[in-house]
Subunit: 643 residues, 2 copies
């Protein structure tokens, strides 16, 4: 448990500019123990240290040396965006260094920053693919080339590196590149040589972050220019490239999910920094459209493997859910920006759901293997071709966007947990961890075994003595019952001062004051809107923020495709410290269908209402979805038929 008593300046992403039009501002947090502490320790001890060697063996660092002229050979890697793997790792490592010095990590960061700096061209341009493979022909293929996308991740890495270390080496590289972009790109009539955008948004939100770090208004303006040039056919007008419709006019999220989400993060960034109501309205409208009709139960996003597309409203397949790990990360980044802009609790609801489910499933328990796609079902006898889009965990991907992306979110996770209150002071707790939340002379210690147990004990350690402030606790949307004790007072759902999802406790606090929140964690069965065709007649098991699944490993003697859940029987909780790093399982009653193997060659027959299939009773053991695919290969289901 940390014992710092200062109010640290947050050293993470999204440090808002001084004039930002935000309801909330990020506060500090430390994660000292518990669920996320464990995940972050694995990230720090296993995933991050393996990065340099993996980037070496995949050729990414080699390419930088080639570009710098310090090595010989051929360009390696099959994509024009391989540099971003390096940048995302540098960003992740920087956030890690911001948390604690690391004698092994720091020299690796320094070494790779130097490699990047050496590869940069004199005018600021940097992209090894185009420098080495395309004969230096820049900006000829903005639709597929990813040059500005790569620049964006470099900018984000540089901001992180500077915030974490105070060293400007990488920030200088980023500024030179951003200045170069500002000289090249601009609207018609601006005198700039190219009026263009990148097929993969990312530079937009990165430029806002660079503005936040440097105060240089040109970067913010350039971000705004790029955002607003999407949707005008500069790239052929495809939704895939976020070019079908201007974002201010868009009615729905569409196209490649990660591209859409990075663009929307930038839209929210711009709305926050400039106060433009039209951009805010677009972001709110599109977030609502996404969560209402295009979000999987896990928080996963993206219905199609083909073009990594969002798909149609309510098109939420299970076995072919795409739900790219990067899309979950982008969703958290966007929703956090929305939470700060609006102050609304629902953004924290989606962040929580995504973190515990759709995102975390992408990382193996041992931190060494990854999922790029995160399906909600794997069938019995599933034939898996392997590769990037496999339902089996992989050591590294040919397109390795997800692993270092997951590393950077885990390494910076404390920055997505708490904020000031709406008045710029006070404290809002968006996510519950064991550790410490702090802001403007406020320090609150938290102890919890969440999400396994629902009790969160908060102790005021530091407080202004002279004035009241509000402690706001998010009451999760999934929570049916809760109880909160503040000193001698006690509330429950019927009388607690809850406003739009926020439990608001305003008083003049004293050090040692305690607040104990108890969220009821009864396991529950969840159904989908009837328009979600893919899961008609099914229910999913949830408990607290966790979505559960059945895995074949827990159901010997048969697969999962014949399993039926009995929704009339109670669900039981089973704490299993021995299993999968320690989980709480949920046990349900069900049966296994007895289907006659009558040799018929046609699986369709007359519909005869009322004729059920017989079955043998079977105890169903559900595990948290995030922990699936950490034992032997096999089938898996989130949604279970109920008849």
């Amino acid at each position: 448990m940390p014992t710092t008593h200062s109010a640290p300046t947050p050293t993470g992403p999204v440090r808002l500019g001084p004039a930002a039009h935000a309801a909330l501002r990020p506060a500090g947090a430390e994660i000292g123990a518990g669920f996320w502490h464990t995940r972050r320790e694995v990230n720090a001890r296993v995933s991050l240290p393996q990065g340099p060697q993996l980037l070496e063996s995949a050729g990414n660092l080699h390419n930088l040396r080639l570009a710098a002229g310090t090595a010989e050979g051929d360009f390696r890697g099959g994509y024009p965006f391989v540099d971003t793997d390096v940048y995302k790792w540098l960003e992740a490592a920087s956030w890690q260094l911001a948390r604690q010095p690391d004698a092994a990590l720091r020299p690796e960061v320094d070494r790779i920053v130097a490699l990047v700096a050496a590869a940069q061209q004199p005018d600021g341009y940097l992209n090894t693919w185009f420098q080495l493979r395309q004969g230096g022909e820049r900006y000829r293929d903005l639709r597929w080339g990813h040059e500005l996308y790569c620049a964006g991740h470099l900018l984000q890495a540089a901001v992180a590196h500077h915030r974490a270390t105070g060293n400007t080496e990488l920030l200088d590289v980023a500024r030179r590149f951003a200045d170069h972009l500002g000289q090249v790109f601009g609207p018609p009539g601006s005198g700039k040589p190219i009026d263009g955008i990148d097929g993969h948004p990312e530079v937009e939100t990165a430029l806002v972050e660079l503005y936040r770090e440097t105060g240089e208004r040109d970067y913010l303006d350039l971000a705004g220019y790029f955002v607003d040039r999407h949707g005008h056919g500069l790239l052929g007008g495809e939704a895939y490239c976020q070019d079908r419709v201007p974002v201010r006019e868009a009615a729905d999220v569409e196209g490649h999910a990660v591209r859409q989400l990075y663009l929307l993060a930038a839209v929210t960034d711009l709305a926050t920094e400039t106060g433009e109501p039209e951009l805010r309205a677009a972001a709110e409208r599109l977030w609502h459209a996404m969560t209402t009709t295009k979000t999987h139960l896990t928080g996963g996003l993206g219905a199609h493997h083909d073009e990594e597309d969002f798909g149609d409203p309510y098109e939420l397949p299970t076995e072919r859910a795409y739900c790219e790990t990067c899309a979950a990360i982008a969703s958290v980044q966007w929703s956090w920006r929305m939470a700060l802009l609006t102050g609304e609790a629902r953004y924290g609801d989606l962040i929580e759901r995504t973190l515990y489910n759709g995102f975390l499933a992408g990382v193996s328990l041992d931190g060494e293997r990854w999922l790029y796609v995160n399906p909600l079902q794997v069938r019995d006898g599933h034939t898996d071709p392997g590769g990037d889009q496999s339902a089996r965990r992989t050591r590294w991907f040919r397109c390795a966007c997800c692993p270092p992306n997951a590393m950077r979110l885990l390494a910076s996770l404390e920055h997505y947990l708490s904020s000031t209150d709406t008045d710029g002071e006070g404290l809002r707790v968006h996510q519950y961890v064991s550790g410490r939340y702090s802001s403007h002379g406020i320090g609150v210690r938290a102890e919890t075994d969440y999400p396994w147990h629902g009790t969160v004990a908060l102790t005021v350690e530091e407080t202004p003595q002279d004035r009241p402030w509000t402690l706001s606790l998010r009451i999760p949307a999934w929570c049916r019952e809760f109880r909160v004790r503040v000193g001698t007072l006690s509330y429950d759902r019927t009388d607690a001062p809850v406003e739009n999802g926020w439990l608001r406790l305003t008083r003049t606090w004293a050090p040692g004051d305690e607040v104990v929140l108890e969220l009821a964690l009864e396991p529950r069965l969840t159904a989908a809107d009837p328009r979600v065709d893919a899961v008609r007649g099914c229910a999913a098991i949830e408990r607290g923020p966790l979505v559960y699944c059945l895995e074949q490993a827990d159901h010997p003697g048969g697969g999962l495709d014949d399993i039926v859940l009995d929704p009339t029987r109670p669900l039981a909780v089973k704490h299993r410290p021995d299993l999968l790093g320690g989980i709480t399982g949920v046990v349900a009653a069900g049966y296994r269908r007895r289907l006659p193997d009558d040799g018929r060659w046609w699986p369709y027959r007359d519909a005869e209402p009322g004729t059920g299939t017989a079955g043998d009773a079977v105890e169903l053991t559900a595990i948290p979805y995030y922990a699936w695919a950490n034992r032997q290969d096999g089938s898996m289901r989130v949604w279970l038929p109920t008849s």
Copy 2:
């Protein structure tokens, strides 16, 4: 109504070799009126005549001129297999000429045959992509190059052209190419320079056809070599290329659906011509696996857009069903070969289902527009990016494999309808049309308004006078009740002489003898095996061989995603000669869900068994699936929720 009285030698595909180990042999048929006659007239009057101009504007013919040295310019078209569009059109046009002389079509065929001949290289090789784009570097990219696939379609076109016209010009081109292939490809130790296969099977079945046309055994042997070299990792071992497992050992259909099906057509061809039991067993096993677990209700095949893959067992999505039109065609071709090899009626069952549904949906009613993929659902508000894989009909595709493929099946359709009996004589009617079936001195006239009405009147017009023979009529698997009248005798399902789906009528027939078969065409509701997760809680409307769907155009005042079918209410038939070229519709009772728009941002909620949603009664008007997408764009559903 045709009045020919000879027993024509079938001039179509799959003319078995003299020593073939087949239970049945193709018989002749003419389609004189009715459902398929109309479709074939559109094919002959609209689709086929437009071919040359489309092949000109897409660049295919230009490429042949380039290869022949009679034109200048750049290669056009984005794929290495563009030549096959020409070959398939030539094959289709040849089958059309075999049916009837056509003063406009014949010179077009002659002209294009001459273009193909001129483009051939002196040693027999012919592939414009490799001749023009790859500097003549042959066989360096068997995985993606499609050189043998192109050769295969050339061979099939040549066989058709020769059978139809007696002219050997294209057959000579094909033989030179096949002879060249025989010099280049062979197993290790054969002294041939390359031990290899093509990533896209097709040459295998084509070589068997060339053997059948020429009697040249080497072509059969080369086909056998290619078939058996699949599955040994020559192309990297991917299922996509049919290279993961030898077909003799395969337990399930897998990989790219069309590739798998063309390969299996060849397996059946080889089993038929050589009598090899292992190949026959593989074909039977894989057909059963396919129909039991990987076939859509429409007969459509292929679950994934991504890699055009078969998907897992019981993975049969609706809106993302791939069901390529070419896969339906290949399925008909394969099943017909299986029907001849085994004599079993179920192959005719699948052919019928595929022809009337999964195949025919690919062709617009006006013969001018096409579907490449054939989904079973299009959602309200579907956003369609257009292009080859669009759910909207398209004039021609960038990858234009399907349109000429559909043309060749329609032009040769009469050859998939009837066969001899097992003794090599007699007559088996696999599919019911108005026209005439004929074989070995037997001629039977047929009149029917199938599939709209269930009565088929058969009249013996020509018969050997001295001996009994068997008239076998396929009783469709979907048929619950039927009645057959033979002279003064009458049978129904309880007493008719039906063996494994064949109604067997053996007697010494006399000219003028009549058989009247009445198949009950009550509309019915069909459910899927509970393992087909995509359509749980749904039913589909069928009538006779037709699968029905709802289309938005017939349901003004709302979309289809809120529609619920009431399965307890009767279905009514409504003949609509005015609609969609004349159809029989089915009317069902249902309601439209009333879903509260409560502003909630999350589409999942507590599962509460027994709480239904209210709704407004609505009459549901179902149209045959094949006729969908011939009016305005809109939503469509085959499977309808029932609660």
